[in-house]
Amino acid sequence: MITRIRVHWTILRISIEERLIYRADFALGTLLRFMPIVTTILLWQAIFNGVSPTSDSSKETTIDSYRFSDMVSYYLLVMLGRAFSSMPGLASGIAQDVRDGTIKKYLVQPIDLLGFLFWSRVAHKLIYYLVAAGPFAIMFILCHSFLPGWPDAGTLIGAIVALILGFIIGFLFEATVGLISFWFLEVSSLLFIVMMLNYFLSGHMFPLDLLPGPIRSVILFLPFQYLAYFPAKVLLGQLTQGELFQGLVVQVLWVIGLFFLARFLFSRGVRRYSAFGG
């Protein structure tokens, strides 16, 4: 057990070192991540102005119970959620390793691919948070008039748990897509489609409660909402204690389910693999 922890700790440490080598790339990427949100917010501003005539200030415009300030808050919180759940390069990295034979490292050495990648990602995220804390803080301070007040302790804890579980779900899902490369060496098209769907299904594109009832119910059934929509709703204070708790429980179930799926795909994929590389 101790040796396992030491292995993971070393992987963590080395991944962090690796990340720091590409410091400039990292810092710039972090700042650039905020660009799309600016255009989205401007779009919503235009939509809100279009919906109501500008002179009528007796009642604030809402779209499906979202005021403009709620919309802005939503997107900021989605950014936060995605800081936990987005896994850039995970799936394509696995595919690349399978294609060029680097995967043999995981077959020949006594290490586990998924465990290794997981702790690697934890390391990447930790560094990311360090570098991104500044820009995030700036954004949130600039927009603090849009944001609702700090949630109570219970909700805050729930939100943190939701974010962490969102990280795990995001990891397992993208790793699963990457593992498909054992069957189809080229997964970039599949990945593109998955990313497009994810953008929509996770609530990154717009809040899922804007969708009509039946469609919304189906989508909320999927794990993607936990990558962005669910944590945002929690932090906006728009869920009851019961809904929050239920959401967390479902998240845990998804984590377990995806974990077994990933492990299954890995063992099957490895069986099929015939070491093209090297």
Binding site: G101, V108, Q109
Partner: protein
Amino acid sequence: MSEIIVQNLAKTYQVYQKKEGLMAAARGLFKREYREVHAVDGIDFSIEKGELVAFLGPNGAGKTTTLKLLSGLIYPTHGSASVLGHTPWLRENAYRRRFALVMGQKNQLWWDLPAQESFRLHKEIYAVESDEFDKRLASLTALLNTEKLLGQPVRELSLGERMRMELIAALLHGPEVLLLDEPTIGLDVVAQRTIQEFLKQYQQEQQFTVLLTSHYMKDVAALCKRVIIIAQGKILYDGSLSGIVDRFSRHKLVTVQFSDTQDMPVLERFGQVMRSEPPRIQIQVERTEVPKVLSTLLDQYVLEDVTVEDRPLEEVIAEMFATVTTDPHRPEDDTG
């Protein structure tokens, strides 16, 4: 019990046939043709602890596939193998801790970090004791002359330096079996020598078992007493290096030196003339004919010197590979 036992091991690949042309490419989207490649076609051998064995063969012979099978990278189509008592393709952690594979690049090293860090990671992965690790690392870096390179990112090292680092990483956990695939490929002569000498010395000290594949004779001659020759997925020979010539060469080289340079006879009827530097002539004679040829020459001419020697090993092997690759149905030991 032998350390490595292989019985009737075989691996067949299904290789998709890509045909030329646009129509064929379009058709390929729906229906694909494949042919079977018998990379390894039923081989048997066993290796004892501490042996240094070379797997020699032309490209496509099945050497690398055999190593992949023994390291657990791929499953066989049929047959069995046992290394250190384990079946490699079960990939038990207990087995993986006891052997090492060096095949191509990116086996053990992280590209962007200094080799030192990769070694540190290895220590944890293989659970090597700290003092054992430090001692081994020190002796390996000293033997391979890489002390100054430890802090440099692997990406920046030359091929030769990277190869040496790969070897160190492979040996840090004290494996009992070392599988090497073309360890000196692409290296200059000096680097090749360095690695050959290192392997020889270190193996003698530590007494681990080594199975290496190569198509460089120099590797083999420098390191191994035992050679397994494999071609077209089948083992052609398993024995000592010197034995190869006895087995596979049907010719010997007879060099005669005449005392009288003006009287140079035509010797083609005895055999193929290989070299003619008067007063010396070298002819290639069938083994069985050698006694007769010698006695005839000694009878008919005045000779100052006569030498009978084997053909160079490289030539014999090259010829053997050439005949095997052109005629796959030829019986095993009939060459030249």
